[in-house]
């Protein structure tokens, strides 16, 4: 099975390695295998796999990770253009 990777170089993921305490939580919660452990520190292994779900940032107790989370969904993006980010919802148009 070919690995499916979306557009490269777009993820808003940032990582401040100096804050990492090596707890490994990001490697557990990321469903795309973006992180690996290198010694006692996490490392971004494949940034282009990131789908900006925000699981790593929410579960990083050290606040070493940030990402602008959202839904990777065309219907949702159209709604953010029309209604703004807060009112957007994609539940009724067939995504998620």
């Amino acid at each position: 099975m070919r690995e499916m990777i979306y557009l490269p170089g777009v993820s808003t993921l940032t990582y401040d390695a100096s804050r990492c305490n090596g707890c490994q939580t990001c490697t557990l919660v990321c469903p795309q295998g973006v992180f690996t452990m290198e010694g006692r520190q996490a490392r971004i292994h494949n940034r282009d796999r990131c789908m900006e779900c925000g699981a790593c940032a929410r579960n990083c107790e050290q606040n070493a990770l940030t990402v602008q989370p959202g839904v990777g969904c065309a219907a949702y993006v159209i709604q953010t253009w029309i209604k703004g980010k807060d009112a957007a919802c994609c539940g009724d148009i067939g995504c998620c």
């Binding site: 499916m4 777009v10 699981a55 959202g70 067939g94």
Partner: protein, 400 residues
């Protein structure tokens, strides 16, 4: 949904489940006396009748006693009705009315040491979970996500830290179990902060596998799960199961647009030079071109996704749209002028490209930044292609 392989089903204890009431009023989500559960009050009380009817009595296997009173026990076997309900949801019918009551449930005969599995109150999620728990004794804590699945609810902030803390309090789970561990689906991690749960409740969050089908294996060896359990997959089967929903989502706005365009075409045809049969034939060709676009973008694009060229879904959709249009000309359409043939192909391509782009919402690997980037380029191109195609087709309708 994975077929389950459960044994036989016992008849629910008639005194435990009063007909008509279902189990829902028995969920000890709020203060209950140990022997006399009172109907839940507060946010969970505003149930509609359709929500109450979702669990058939065959899905219930009486109750399990706990330190805070009886807890409804769920069968791990899906009934025909469960499957029928799931099928309807997959077809895009009543998709937004498939909620179950939040609160505590049991499978098997759980005791104070049994694991606690947390899920969303979307019935399809709960069905997927319980059907994987054959021969297992466990508590199931169902969060109120407004009937939305774990992944989307986590993204939308309903499968969230606050709701989990709230649900732990109302179910008094700390009295039900002696341990302090919660197994959460990994895809809930974008909504729930494990460390915050520990600080606020003392419960430790264990991130379970992505798929419920891996739960049994995970529970046997939670410290060292297979790496594949931690990764989202998007197999052919997982993509194909989404197709009915994609078609259904395409048809609703598609029907309006088609209706409007056909009215315009009819007016143009009447004013034009063609005879009525030739105008009708050309209108049918327009419908076929749109239909081929739906087949390309909502059926073939999901199936062939990994093999279609390009990373942007709009490109994948346009490619398969072109292929479908080509096939249409080879085997479906009768010979026609080159201008009309091109116009129909452009309509098919634009439709297919847009629908494939819309499929980003159903995939587990597209980022919002990427989708937005793609759309800024693709949407104007799709609108333009559709416009040129439609005008070309209308010209043909005009000339007959």
């Amino acid at each position: 949904m994975t077929p389950n392989r459960n044994g036989t089903l016992t008849t629910p204890n008639p005194s435990a489940t009063k007909p008509g009431l279902g189990i829902l009023s028995k969920v000890p989500t709020h203060a209950t006396d140990a022997c006399c559960p009172v109907p839940p009050a507060g946010p969970t009380a505003k149930k509609t009748l359709s929500e109450r009817k979702i669990f058939s009595h065959q899905s219930l296997m009486g109750e399990v006693s706990s330190a805070v009173g009886p807890v409804p026990r769920l069968s791990t076997r899906l009934t025909l009705r469960d499957r029928w309900g799931g099928l309807k949801v997959r077809l895009g019918l009543k998709r937004n009315q498939y909620a179950v009551d939040p609160g505590l449930y049991a499978v098997g005969q759980p005791d104070q040491q049994a694991p606690v599995l947390v899920t969303a109150n979307y019935k399809l999620s709960l069905d997927a979970l319980r059907s994987e728990l054959t021969d297992l004794d466990a508590w199931i804590l169902v969060l109120d996500t407004n009937g939305v699945n774990v992944w989307c609810a986590a993204g939308k902030g309903t499968f969230a830290t606050d709701e989990l803390v709230h649900r732990l309090t109302t179910t008094r789970l700390d009295q039900v179990v002696a341990h302090r561990r919660l197994v959460l689906p990994q895809l809930g991690a974008s909504g729930v902060a494990g460390h915050a749960i520990r600080q606020r409740t003392g419960f430790r969050v264990i991130w379970g596998p992505v798929r419920a089908s891996d739960l049994k294996a995970f529970l046997k060896n939670p410290k060292n799960p297979a790496p594949a359990m931690r990764r989202i997959s998007f197999t052919l089967r997982e993509r194909m199961i989404l197709i009915p929903m994609e078609i259904s989502a395409a048809l609703k706005p598609g029907a309006w647009a088609t209706g409007a365009v056909l009215v315009i075409a009819l007016v143009v045809g009447m004013l034009g030079k063609g005879t009525l049969p030739s105008v009708v034939r050309l209108m049918l060709l327009g419908i076929v071109a749109g239909g081929l676009g739906i087949i390309g973008g909502a059926v073939l694009a999901p199936i062939l996704l990994p093999w279609l060229p390009g990373k942007a879904f709009a490109v994948k959709g346009a490619t398969i749209g072109l292929a479908v249009a080509g096939l249409g000309h080879l085997i479906l359409y009768s010979p026609m002028a080159a201008g009309l043939a091109t116009a129909l192909a452009l309509m098919t391509m634009a439709t297919s490209s847009f629908l494939a782009m819309n499929f980003t919402g159903a995939t587990p690997f597209t980022s919002p930044s990427g989708v937005e980037k793609e759309m800024r380029l693709a949407l104007p191109a799709q609108v333009m292609t559709m416009g040129i195609g439609t005008v070309g087709w209308l010209v043909a309708v005009w000339t007959g």
